[in-house]
Point group: C2
Chain length 200, copies 2
DNA sequence: CCCGTTCGATACGGTTGTGTATTCAATACG
DNA sequence: CGTATTGAATACACAACCGTATCGAACGGG
């Protein structure tokens, strides 16, 4: 069917995969092109045949992860909206299931965020992605609240922003002190209170 | 009075200062020893005369910022505890005043956190520092709640953890989208609700 | 005032990492 | 089949960075 430039796209994918791993382990600057190639089982020749530079790979990687994220939540959304599940469970569930490997995802996304904070270009891209993700979550919240007759006293998007902020901050603590802060504990103890307060 | 090895400590301080700036701009791995020296107005000779390696400087820098943080909050604590200020204002005020330059502080501390997540040694140090900071905040909360007759239905430390998590997550959003999320907005809209819910 | 020490600058060697140019193998295609 | 094209491996040139060894100036003590 498709012209077998499949080989090319495959090595690209493997390189991106390797980059993801190595970036998680050593960070953006800490990982050399060679490290990435080693991990993917190629030499630098393959790399430069597919990407112009490490920066370009970073962009491509960001794009790829973004795409995959969209795809995943698109698959999860209907499933969650249908089942009669509480609003919080749905939202927190979505946040978790979207990132199967919490630790690696946290490392990578933090790295991206740091990069964006120093680079307006990257900031725009990241904000766009986050905006997309947030709006999906907001839709979910609105939908569930509608079907269960809840009414918000603050804009749902604001509430979603809170959930995301808390989730990210809490995840950081959980990863630093897994024994003292089990994953999700902060969210599960405090978010119900907030939800109680903002709905009627 | 003191034996004038003052020169040495002074250049050390300037190097640490330079490192702070450069690390904020380019990140840990992204900053070369030479970058740091340039910024501080020295050559690499001075650097290696004062530190064995970049890693050692990182440790020293972490120690220095930790010390300064302790000092600052120690100075702020009595001031806040005395004045008849609401609990939330006190806590949020402390979080803010402890970091005059929000942006730089966020970059640096995120960088440290990332480093700690990859390095058990660093994780221990960071956790110790955070534990110290958290316990100060908890003391403040307990003190104020006592004088104003509030009683918590959750451990105050847990509440402090929430405040910190939210604060960090919110700061990230504020820095990425200053126009959409003014600094402190998430905290100020939602924390009062939580406080309402956990006290009686 | 002179001598010894301290501390930062300079000079150097070695390593690591990047990017390009070239080669070689596999596969598509006539 | 043989040839052309594609894609990854190899080789190479070059820059950045690290760490050490050495030098020289300032400064303190006698």
């Amino acid at each position: 069917m498709e012209p077998p430039k499949r080989r090319r796209t495959n090595t690209r994918a493997r390189l991106l995969d390797g980059a993801l791993e190595v970036f998680a382990e050593r960070g953006f600057h800490g990982a050399s092109v060679e490290d990435i190639c080693d991990r993917a089982g190629f030499t630098r020749g393959a790399f430069y045949s597919n990407f112009a530079s490490k920066d370009e790979l970073v962009i491509a990687l960001f794009q790829a992860t973004t795409d995959r994220l969209i795809e995943q939540i698109s698959a999860l959304l209907p499933e969650l909206a249908d089942q009669p599940v509480t609003l919080l469970d749905a939202v927190l569930g979505l946040l978790d299931e979207a990132a199967p490997d919490q630790r690696r995802w946290h490392l990578i996304s933090t790295e991206f965020t740091l990069h964006a904070l120093r680079n307006p270009e990257a900031a725009r891209a990241l904000n766009k992605q986050r905006e997309m993700f947030r709006s999906r979550l907001t839709q979910l919240v609105e939908e569930i609240s509608r079907t269960s007759g809840l009414e918000f006293s603050v804009p749902p998007e604001q509430f979603v922003r809170l959930v995301i902020a808390l989730h990210e901050g809490a995840r950081s603590q959980s990863l630093l002190e897994p024994r003292k802060v089990p994953a999700g504990s902060l969210e599960h103890t405090f978010l119900p209170m907030v939800l109680q307060a903002v709905t009627r």
